[in-house]
Point group: C2
Chain length 474, copies 2
């Protein structure tokens, strides 16, 4: 009954993936452009998603022992580039405040592109003794990097993110912590909450974060076969600590330099969620992160239907399900069903007078569209079981696509061919930095280096044993 008007709503993702992406952002009321170029308005439905994502990431970060702080939006120009004579000398990604308090500022201030330098200054001050270590800090904030080719959630002049900065007494401790964030915070969240399978590994020297001695990354495949870097963790060695004089007195009284890490994830993950799971009908929200897990749709405007629908919502809510009532019976049923499909709510419970006579209702899964009749007496157990299996099936579907679209390549040419539709796996020794450069010329890059088992390489793994994952990326 709803299929008739679906076709007109969305561009097909197979026909034009970028256009489909723009369409769903608008039609599902997720986000729109702000009035200043490159800025973004996150609408309630998408922000509700972000709040849940943030809470899940934050809980995992806190479990590792890190604490949140808030550092200022504004950074003195001198912190970022002490020698710059005029603001035009700055990196083009910076936004610079030159007027405030009703006059020209003696020293312009930069809107943070990251809070890295502030963390450096503060850690230098806050860390004195080995007893202050490890210092594990994180911040949730907006940052600004002026964007010439903005794309909502993926590249915007302002975005929301978390950035963690930690200082440790030894390289081993810093490495272990960065790895823990990589696996127990990011990978765990992306897979266990967002149902997105990720490839974990390290960046090649060319793709590594400036100043890092090691960058770990979670890479995911989107619906069009392109890669999206979902989150990264960096080991900064002692480079950063030396630049900011972050040192400590050891137990034996020696003055030593700290080993630091930094790691981040952003609203870009929202773009990843949309592009990893979306389909012809709209977005599909994995059940564990869905602000609304089931919508209870009153089909007709009769007393009993409305009462039953409302009581089902409260029954489900009591059982811990995030349920919402749709009793807008003045609007067509088909139109409302299409809207919830567009918004990707995992389950739709259709409650109508005919089914009610049998003590039943119809439950529709967003992932495959499968319908089943459910006894109202068993609604809670049925819904909880469906939500659980949907998570498993969504990540399984994404894993299958990843597997199907990943090709074993033996040469640069084969890797380039594979990157037209997905990823290539190629021995890093065979590719090498020259091969990597050749790929880059065709807008294909090394997404990460893994061991043959798909794990994160450590000191014990030789370059000759690593596999490069190669693809186009956002």
């Amino acid at each position: 009954m709803t299929t008739n008007n679906r076709a007109s709503v969305l561009t097909s993702p197979k026909a034009d993936f970028p256009r489909w992406y723009q369409d769903v952002l608008e039609k599902a009321e997720l986000a729109e452009n702000g009035p200043v170029r490159g800025t973004m308005v996150i609408r309630p439905y998408a922000y509700g998603l972000w709040e849940r994502m943030q809470a899940e990431v934050d809980r995992r970060i806190k479990t590792t022992g890190a604490e949140n702080v808030y550092l200022p939006l504004f950074i003195p120009q001198s912190y970022l580039e002490r020698e710059a004579e005029h603001v035009e000398g700055f990196s083009p990604e910076l936004a610079v405040v030159t007027h405030a308090g009703g006059k020209d500022l003696a020293e312009p201030v930069v809107v943070r592109p990251t809070s890295e330098t502030l963390f450096g200054e503060l850690m230098s001050k806050w860390i004195q003794s080995h007893r202050d270590l490890p210092m594990l800090l994180n911040q949730w904030a907006n940052v600004v990097r002026w964007e010439m080719r903005p794309r909502l959630f993926l590249r915007t002049s302002e975005f929301l993110w978390q950035e963690g900065h930690t200082a440790h007494a030894s390289r081993e401790d810093a490495n272990a912590y960065a790895l823990r964030i990589h696996l127990e915070v990011y990978r765990d969240f992306l897979q266990d909450v967002l149902a997105i399978p990720v490839l974990v590994g390290v960046k090649s020297r060319r793709e590594r974060f400036a100043g890092a001695i090691n960058t770990m990354t979670c890479e995911a495949m989107m619906g069009d076969g392109k890669a999206l870097q979902m989150a990264t963790s960096h080991e900064l060695g002692q480079n950063f600590a030396k630049a900011f004089d972050i040192s400590f007195t050891s137990a034996s009284g020696q003055l030593e330099t700290c080993w630091t890490t930094s790691w981040g994830s952003s609203t870009r993950m929202l773009g990843g969620l949309i592009m990893a799971h979306g389909d012809e009908q709209g977005i599909r929200i994995p059940p564990r992160v869905a602000p609304v897990q089931i919508v209870v749709l009153a089909v007709k405007d009769d007393e009993r239907t409305l009462t039953t629908a409302a009581s089902l919502v409260s029954e489900l809510t009591t059982a811990g399900v995030r349920a919402r009532l749709d009793d807008r019976t003045t609007q067509g049923f088909g139109r409302r069903a299409t809207e919830w499909e567009l918004k990707g709510v995992p389950l739709r419970l259709e409650v109508g007078p005919r089914d009610l006579e049998q003590g039943e209702a119809t439950i529709v899964r967003r992932d495959g569209g499968a319908k089943q009749t459910v006894k109202l007496a068993e609604i809670n157990t049925t819904v909880l079981a469906l939500l659980e299996s949907m998570h498993t099936e969504m990540i399984e579907t994404a894993r299958q696509r990843l597997a199907e679209r990943t090709v074993e390549a033996a040469s640069v040419a084969e890797a380039l061919e594979a990157a037209k539709t997905g990823f290539a796996r190629i021995p890093w020794q065979r590719l090498g930095e020259e091969g990597e450069e050749a790929l880059n010329r065709e807008a294909v890059s090394v997404r990460c280096l893994q061991t043959r088992e798909g794990t994160v390489p450590g000191d014990e793994d030789h370059d000759s044993e690593l596999i490069a994952i190669v693809g186009r990326s956002y």
Copy 2:
């Protein structure tokens, strides 16, 4: 045992309240100045407090039906002052970005001092029909108002806040909603979580928010008898909706103008929490908002003490108490006890070998310093009961101070005299707008107007029956 070095730690609040405030911010590691004038670094302990405050306020906001959004940091200059020729023409509180993307911007952009104008533009677009009403939106974000005389938490160039903006079909609905936010979100949070008694009422015309037809406020008395405005809710009538063309088609097909409200609270409440409850020993955190409700302090470095202390922490945690272990036995016991007092943790459990032999430990209340011996077998019930009664006693203590320092005044002169140490209550008819002006010349203001019963005046209350609450303020 800890009293000996206390005196040197803090300035007495009775001797010099502003200096005491600065001292506690530093010594309790709450906040410090950022490198750009007027900006603020919120350290982990204070940010943990803010997170809990934010969660409590947010939950109450959502209960009223509002949803969160995120709007851009940058606002086109033209939105704020369409006729301004040059950025110097702006209000001095604005920070203006003139350079970005590596060059001078054709149109400078302003860092949001509020998102009011953006909400206006968006609501105008998002609201079409009466079915879209009420539209209830809220945003948590940083805002910037350049500050010449900054004071951490109270007045900073950047601060964190929430701003709610709602649109309604009728004045009655807008009024009822603004009142609900005033009482069920702000008053409830301030009293039931922060244990700060607040005076609720409306602002005088002179103190009212520009453009509002009514401003409701929660006013609290600080430790020095001065007032702090903790949160406000505004009815904007149709003024704002007319300026931004926020209109809707009614059920009968008429085009009508919306009635809007706005309401906000900020990190200023953190300053209020410190100044309302702090004492000679430091800050005192009300138990319901405390990130750490009880610290379990291992007195000595012996096996049994450490094991018992750790297991008490997990026992308390399981019982839902936010407990933390202090096993830094290499540092003096007195010094650690003083530190926790400074940080205002509600309860301190001192665990030492001698008490343990009796199956006991000593529990110390931060509010009055009272000590009691507690049987370890009864630890959970004792702690839960103490936390509950501490909340009640803290708000009661604050209520007594408010009562003691509030004087019934019959003239401007009497009100001025009372404002030296606290508040005055004076019939609004007797004071009048002329009297208000006279107070203002002495830096005393009307904090709010109430009914004789202390409630928020409504349409049915005549001016002649209102009481003005008068005082100095932050």
